[in-house]
Assembly symmetry: C2
Homo-oligomer: 295 residues x 2
């Protein structure tokens, strides 16, 4: 073998790196800070390099970035300008930026056709169909991502105001949320005006928690959310057919299944590995075959 293989899984909060030999045998791992190539490409470059060096250190090796071939799965990869800027400045012998969804799918289902649904603060569905990638939803909180943590949290605040106004019955969930805002609906409005998706998403664990206890407001919210996920999964199946594997990933993946339609629930499988492992696998294949990975 010649040189090293590196997988990078980077996003808005952290950047993780896994170092392997040319056969994909793991040697070490590293972790650094945010690597959002859209909002701050220079910081992303710094953290990608740092995570790579830490992976070499973790393996007990002197960093040899110039002898390393990397696949980087990064959020924001669909904006050409950012990708070009970052790719030109990466310190590796060869590197390719793909979407964070593509490495997650590789990790979860390996080389097979199938799909993943990432249900976290946002929602997006990535399909591999005869080697081709497609994504569904994931357009963001304002007009998409039905069933996402952000949308569920927003619905929780909305339902709290509906209960306050006696438009819908008061419930323990609505009481609990109202209490967090000192019983003052105007504080909810102030919060919502400036809230980012992650801010709304902070109320989502409470929704699942109260739904478990049979709270009607929480169950109504999850009915809306699960219906959004169910409909998207129907669209996924229309592409993959019944044979395709399906995994749910993301923070809400363990919580959602009981609320999904049975036709989907019974077809879910556990992911076989994480996104970082997926990135390493793709890198091994790409550089062994001397060919690019489709993103």
């Amino acid at each position: 073998m010649t040189g090293f293989i590196l997988g990078i899984d980077g996003g808005g909060t952290s950047c993780r790196a896994a170092l392997a030999d040319a056969d994909g045998v793991m040697l070490g791992r590293g972790r650094s800070g945010a690597s959002n190539i859209l909002t701050d490409p220079d910081t992303a470059l710094k953290h990608i390099t740092e995570a790579a060096r830490l992976a070499f250190e973790d393996a007990g090796l002197k960093p040899r970035l110039d002898a390393t071939q990397a696949i980087l799965g990064l959020a924001g990869n669909n904006v050409g300008d950012a990708v070009g800027y970052v790719t030109a400045r990466l310190p590796f012998a060869r590197s390719q930026i793909v979407s964070d969804g593509v490495i997650a799918l590789q990790g979860a289902i390996g080389d097979e056709d199938g799909a993943i649904g990432i249900v976290g603060t946002g929602t997006v569905y990535i399909i591999r169909d005869q080697g081709q990638f497609r994504s569904i939803a994931g357009w963001g909180f304002q007009v998409s991502d039905l069933g996402s943590g952000a949308r569920l949290g927003q619905l929780a605040l909305q339902e709290t105001l509906l209960a306050f106004d006696k438009i819908r019955p008061m419930s323990l969930l609505a009481e609990a949320i109202l209490a967090e805002f000192d019983g003052n609906p105007e504080l909810i409005v102030d919060f919502a005006r400036l809230a980012k998706p992650g801010d709304f998403g902070r109320y989502t664990p409470k929704v699942f928690e109260f739904a478990d206890q049979g709270d009607e407001t929480a169950l109504r919210i999850l009915k809306v959310g699960a219906s959004g996920v169910d409909e998207a999964l129907d669209a996924v199946y229309a592409v993959t057919g019944a044979a395709g594997k399906l995994c749910l990933l993301g923070g809400l993946a363990p919580l959602y299944p009981p609320y999904l339609a049975e036709r989907h629930r019974t077809r879910l499988s556990e992911p076989r590995a994480d996104a970082l492992t997926g990135a390493v696998e793709l890198a091994v294949k790409a550089y062994a075959e001397k060919s690019g990975v489709r993103a």
Copy 2:
């Protein structure tokens, strides 16, 4: 009689004034620019004064603001600081700021108990019950105002993306909206990220237009919107009882009735006068009786 009576109806885009004698006989009208006391109280003061002077001119009279008693129905009246600042600086002999909803209700249903639903870019319901005012909804676009123009427009963009992703069937409405964004869903996302309620509301006329032609997407959006209005009206009736009058006001008022539940549709009545007339009526009563108006 001594002095003049002035009604002011002010909001984010304009300020209207109506001048009357102490018996409420209309003498003249004036109109000036924005008078949002929350976002720009000094400009609001300038435009209120200008509209009042123009009403005197319209009546063929020399402005006598210091001999004028005014009721001002202004958006943003629920924030005490702004009200205090503006009230202290108004040029009138006596003046009182009430909500824009209170003067609209007075105009629409007069002195009776009852309610109005203002369905425009936002939605809010104002109830007068044994002389006491209450409002329902109206907490703003992010977590309230179900069925408002802003929410309908947002739903239209959301449905367009769902159709683009084949999660729901493509329709003529979704095609028309997608065409406005050059067939590029990313342009919808860019728009939505920065859109204010009025920006979303620009797509709402199209929703009603296509619903008239039986478009399934448009009908689905209006079903959601009308259900939000129906539920709020149920909460209104729980306060007013069946005897109370009900008027819909605002830009969507002429469009919504065919989509509302029959129990509400059959109870709607036409407003008897506009908000500015309501402000004058309240001023005549307040200053004739030498007592304040409740807001």
